[in-house]
C-alpha cells in the first residue's frame, strides 16, 4: 500500500504519535509516497535508536506486550533451560503449530508414538525452564528442530544457561513421576488397574518406551 504524503511530514507525525505512546510505525508507512518509503523507514529508525524509553507506568503496563514478556523472560533467566522459554513458543508461533500437535509429532518423530503423554510433560518443562537443557539429547533436538524450522545446533545454543554466577532463585527442576513406579509389574495393565496411569495414551505405553523417552530427555547423549 502506498500513500500520498512526504517522508519528512510523516516523520513529524510519527514522532508526535510515538511521544503520545503509539509506537507502531506501520500506519505511517502506509501513508507515505511509495518512492519515499525507504527514506521514512530510515528517518523513523534514526529517531527510534535515540528516542528515550518509556517512564514506568504500572497501569498502562497491564495487558501490554511488555507485560506478556515478563513471564517467559523470567523463566529464561531463572530456569535451567536457557532461552527455551522464549525461543520455543516463538518458533511454534512462526510455524503455526499448536503445542499438542507438536508434541504428537515429536513423539512420533522420536519413534515412540504412544508416548505422547510423557513427551508432553517433558516439552512443557522445556518451555517453562524446568528441564535441564544439557540432559536433552541431540536426537530430541534434531526432531524438534525439523518440526520448528530450525536445527539442533541452534536449539542447543539457545538452551545454554546464562552465566553470571550461580543462580539461587528457588527453581524447581522438573522431575517426572513415572507412570510405572519401581517394583511394579512391567505389565502396563497392572499399573492401569491400580490407577497409576494418567492418560489414555499410557494404556498402551510400555515401561521400555517410557524409559527410553526419559533417557532421551534427561541423559543427554549417553
Amino acid at each position: 500500500m502506498a500513500g500520498t504524503e512526504h517522508a519528512e511530514t510523516l516523520l513529524t507525525a510519527y514522532v508526535a504519535a510515538h511521544q503520545a505512546g503509539d509506537v507502531d510505525p506501520v500506519p505511517f508507512l502506509d501513508r507515505v509516497l511509495a518512492e519515499e518509503r525507504e527514506v521514512l523507514v530510515t528517518l523513523i529508525d534514526a529517531y527510534l535508536v535515540q528516542a528515550p524509553g518509556r517512564v514506568w507506568d504500572p497501569t498502562a503496563f497491564n495487558g501490554t506486550p511488555a507485560q506478556r514478556m515478563v513471564e517467559p523472560l523470567t523463566l529464561a533467566l531463572a530456569g535451567v533451560s536457557g532461552a527455551w522459554p522464549v525461543v520455543l513458543p516463538s518458533l511454534r508461533n512462526r510455524v503455526r503449530i499448536k503445542r499438542r500437535d507438536l508434541v504428537e509429532k515429536l513423539a512420533t518423530g522420536l519413534g515412540y508414538p504412544k508416548t505422547t503423554g510423557v513427551v508432553e510433560e517433558y516439552y512443557h518443562a522445556m518451555e517453562h525452564g524446568d528441564l535441564p537443557a544439557e540432559g536433552v539429547s541431540d536426537k530430541v533436538l534434531r526432531v524438534l528442530g525439523k518440526l520448528l524450522g530450525t536445527d539442533a545446533e541452534s536449539l542447543r545454543r539457545d538452551g545454554a544457561l546464562f552465566l553470571g554466577g550461580s543462580f539461587k532463585v528457588d527453581h524447581q527442576v522438573f522431575a517426572r513421576h513415572p507412570s510405572f513406579p519401581p517394583k511394579l509389574s512391567a505389565d502396563a495393565d497392572v499399573a492401569d488397574s491400580m490407577g497409576m496411569l494418567s492418560d489414555s495414551d499410557s494404556s498402551e505405553l510400555s515401561r521400555e518406551d517410557e524409559a527410553e523417552i526419559d533417557r532421551l530427555f534427561t541423559e543427554g547423549n549417553v
Partner: protein
C-alpha cells in the same frame, strides 16, 4: 555491599545499566519478585522502541512481538555473559539491527527518479556524491550518517534535531542559538525546506545501497 530490594519507583529511577545490575543481584539473591519487577520495568522501558524498529521491517505483528522478546533476551544474555560493550541501550540497538538483518527480506520498489525541489543553493548539499560511494552499505542508518556528513554544520544540525523529534520552530531556535554569527536567521519554514531537500538527497543513496 549487600543486596537490597527496591520498590518500582526506585527501580524506574535507575539508568538501564544500574537497573540491570539490580536485576542481576535479585537473580543471585533468589528474589524472584524483584527479578520479575526489574524485568517488567526494563521491558516496559525498552520494548516499544525495539518493537517499532522491528515493525519497520517486518509486517507480521505477532512475529515482531516475538522477535522483540528475543532481542531483549539476547541483550540480557549478553550482559550476563559479559559480552556487552558500552551501554545497555546501545547494545540493544546493535542486537536489534542484527536480528532485523536476519529477518529482512528485500522489498524493492520501482520508482521514478526524484524531482529536485528548489534550486540555487546546491552548495548546501556539498560536493556531488557518487552513488557508488554508498553501495557497500547495507545498513540504511550508515547511509544516513554518511549523507549527514555531506551537509554543512548548520544544515546537519537541522536534520539531526528534526530526526530527534524537535518541532521546526524549536529546531530553528536551537540552530540560531548556536550559529549566532549567521546573518540570516533560520526560520521554521527553512527547517521544512531543508528536511525536504535532505529527503531528496537521501532517497537515491538509500536505493543504491539496498
Amino acid at each position: 555491599m549487600g543486596y537490597r530490594a527496591k520498590n518500582e519507583w526506585d527501580l524506574d529511577a535507575l539508568e538501564d545499566d544500574d537497573l540491570f545490575e539490580q536485576l542481576k543481584a535479585a537473580r543471585a539473591a533468589g528474589d524472584s519478585e524483584q527479578l520479575k519487577l526489574a524485568i517488567g520495568i526494563l521491558a516496559w522501558r525498552r520494548e516499544g522502541n525495539v518493537f517499532a524498529r522491528i515493525r519497520l521491517k517486518m509486517g507480521d505483528m505477532e512475529e515482531a512481538e516475538d522477535l522483540t522478546q528475543i532481542v531483549l533476551l539476547d541483550a540480557m544474555r549478553a550482559k550476563f555473559d559479559g559480552e556487552h560493550i558500552g551501554e545497555f541501550g546501545s547494545m540493544l540497538n546493535v542486537i536489534t539491527s542484527r536480528r532485523i538483518a536476519d529477518f529482512y527480506s528485500k522489498n524493492s520498489l520501482d520508482t521514478d527518479p526524484m524531482v529536485e525541489e528548489g534550486s540555487g543553493d546546491d552548495d548546501l548539499w556539498g560536493q556531488e556524491l557518487s552513488v557508488g560511494d554508498f553501495v557497500d552499505h547495507s545498513n540504511s542508518l550508515a547511509v544516513l550518517e554518511q549523507a549527514l556528513e555531506e551537509l554543512d554544520d548548520r544544515h546537519r544540525m537541522v536534520v539531526e534535531l528534526s530526526v530527534k523529534g524537535g518541532p521546526a520552530k524549536e529546531v530553528a531556535d536551537d540552530v540560531n542559538a548556536v550559529f549566532v554569527d549567521v546573518e540570516i536567521a533560520m526560520t521554521d519554514s527553512n527547517v521544512h525546506q531543508i528536511m525536504k531537500r535532505f529527503r531528496d538527497f537521501l532517497n537515491p543513496l538509500l536505493k543504491a545501497a539496498t
